[in-house]
């Protein structure tokens, strides 16, 4: 699914309950992170629940592309991780730098639905992804 398709799907949902159920479903359908990658090395700090993000790099025509695997032990956050992975799927470090993730979450209508502590979690995940991109 592309992020535009995701935004279209979200548009069809008008109350928070349906949106939350859809987020939980996105998380449930995401591939689980192998247990051996759920280590402190890949943990995202600053989230209330446990969150892991694992980057991988591929080279295509001399250009580096980043992809991520991720997971969380909480169901709603797992869904948020799934959205984040979709947003940052197969991007160059420069593209990652330019993505305004806050705007995407606003388009998803999730801005109002995210509690401040989870918004911090979102910020922590985005920061981590930008860190990986900048370190390439």
């Amino acid at each position: 699914m592309t992020i535009d398709e995701l935004i279209e799907n979200f548009d069809l949902l008008d109350d928070w309950e349906d949106k939350y159920r859809y987020i939980i479903d996105l998380g449930a359908r995401m591939d689980a992170l192998p247990e051996n990658l759920k280590t402190d090395d890949w943990k995202v700090h600053g989230c209330q629940s446990q969150v892991w993000l694992v980057p991988s790099v591929t080279m295509e025509d001399g250009q580096k592309y980043l992809d991520f695997q991720g997971d969380s032990d909480a169901a709603i956050v797992r869904g948020i991780v799934a959205i984040i992975l979709m947003v940052f799927a197969h991007k160059t470090p420069q593209e990652i730098k330019e993505i305004a993730v806050e705007n995407i979450f606003a388009k998803l209508g999730l801005q109002d639905h995210l509690s401040p502590s989870r918004r911090n979690g979102l910020a922590a995940m985005t920061e981590k992804i930008r860190y990986y991109a900048s370190a390439l």
């Binding site: 939350y20 032990d73 909480a74 169901a75 709603i76």
Partner: protein, 404 residues
């Protein structure tokens, strides 16, 4: 008669709607809401009689000083201390305990000495002792509690001995609600030659305190949990003990005589209140304690005990609900897990229903782990909590279960 609905009207926050729903505030154990009289008191001070205390020879400063010192007397009466000089204003209970660990610990703890705490301590009554023990060569001992959160006297007595110099224990666990028999424990500590410090953060909110009857040497609590402002806390200490301790911090308002070569320090409690104190907050705290006393500490305790029974009865209706901490006589603090759902997921759904609960390790990480978890959800009661709060909470839990 204790009319909880009338009391609720005194707390303006409670009539706010949260996410379009009634404000079901079940996180008073983290920080309690404030009655209008406390808000009014602080507004009055800032708008009509604000000035620094203990300094100016002018009307406003005299007036503030008088109100500040009166707040100290209110605290003294609230915990039944022998003298108002035994009351030190701090930022919060954390600072109160750090003050004792730093001033008393550094002066009196020697290699081989022991500090004894329970497994149920908040980080604020654990880390200061851990650090001061490491610094002085003393050892921190931790006595066990039962799997249901109950106090185990034999475990306490097993570790209480001639090497024990300080026992520091919560009067009521912020995670399990367990009430510790601090009066008897203090007596046993004294028999062993140890001092006894009570962390009364939770207890101060729910029961009348009496430091003379408990015969504790130190007692700490925070203003923001007792319906008072944030930024103000209390340390009680027996006068002779406080008088034997060096100052905690250094600066203005705590000195007798200063020259470039040497400083002699003021008497207790001024010695421990360096710098301009949180005076508006202290006076606000005094008003909050008066407010509780106006409602009657026995009435508050009775209301909360009745509501605790009601809540625990209703928990039984929620399939998969497991209360963590079920000691007899526990207070209105309910840590729980639900059907293997992550506590944060529960909290997100509850939040949408206007229900505020705490999740995580509750600043008691070793305790939560000892109970077998990394994270717990917690609902807690205050003097304004009602049966409707519990009903909405239960309905929101049932709803949350449908999501996962």
């Amino acid at each position: 008669m204790y009319d909880v609905y009338k009391i609720r009207q005194d707390f303006p926050v409670l009539s706010q709607r949260i996410n379009g729903k009634p404000n079901t505030f079940l996180d008073s154990a983290a920080s309690a809401q404030k009655p209008q009289c406390v808000i009014d008191t602080m507004y009055r001070l800032y708008s009509s009689c604000y000035a620094n205390v203990h300094r100016g020879a002018y009307y406003l400063s005299e007036h503030m000083t008088q109100e500040y010192e009166n707040a100290r007397k209110i605290v003294q009466r609230f915990i039944n201390a022998a003298s108002e000089r035994e009351i030190i204003f701090t930022r919060n209970a954390t600072e109160s305990i750090n003050l004792v660990a730093a001033c008393w610990g550094r002066k009196f703890l020697k290699p081989g000495d022991e500090v004894l705490i329970s497994q149920a301590e908040h980080h604020a009554n654990l880390i200061p002792w851990q650090v001061i023990a490491a610094e002085t060569g003393a050892e921190l001992k931790v006595f066990k509690i039962a799997d249901d959160g109950s106090y185990l006297e034999e475990e306490y007595l097993k570790l209480l001995g001639p090497k024990t110099k300080m026992v520091a224990v919560t009067a009521m666990s912020n995670v399990l609600g367990t009430v510790f028999p601090v009066r008897k424990m203090a007596e046993q500590a004294h028999m062993a030659g140890a001092l006894f410090l009570v962390d009364a953060c939770q207890a101060a909110v729910h029961h009348a305190l009496d430091v003379q009857q408990t015969d504790c040497d130190f007692l700490a609590f925070s203003g923001h949990k007792t319906y008072g402002p944030s930024g103000i806390g209390v340390l009680y200490g027996k006068y002779k003990l406080l008088d034997s301790l060096p100052p905690y911090q250094f600066g203005g308002d705590m000195v007798e005589k200063v020259t470039y070569e040497k400083t002699t320090f003021d008497e207790v409690p001024a010695r421990f209140e360096a710098g301009t104190p949180a005076m508006v907050q202290a006076i606000g705290l005094g008003r909050a304690l008066q407010y509780m006393q106006e409602q009657g500490m026995e009435n508050i305790a009775a209301h909360e005990a009745e509501l605790t029974d009601y809540a625990r009865g209703r928990f039984a209706e929620v399939k998969g609900f497991k209360e963590i901490g079920t000691a007899r006589g526990k207070g209105g603090v309910f840590s729980f897990v639900l059907d293997g759902i992550h506590p944060q997921d529960i909290a997100f759904i509850l939040d949408k229903e206007g229900v505020s609960v705490r999740t995580g390790h509750h600043c008691a990480q070793p305790l939560v782990e000892r109970m077998g978890y990394t994270s717990l959800a917690r609902a807690s009661l205050g003097m304004y909590s009602s049966r409707e709060d519990i009903d909405i909470f239960i309905a929101a839990l049932q709803k949350a279960k449908t999501f996962f």
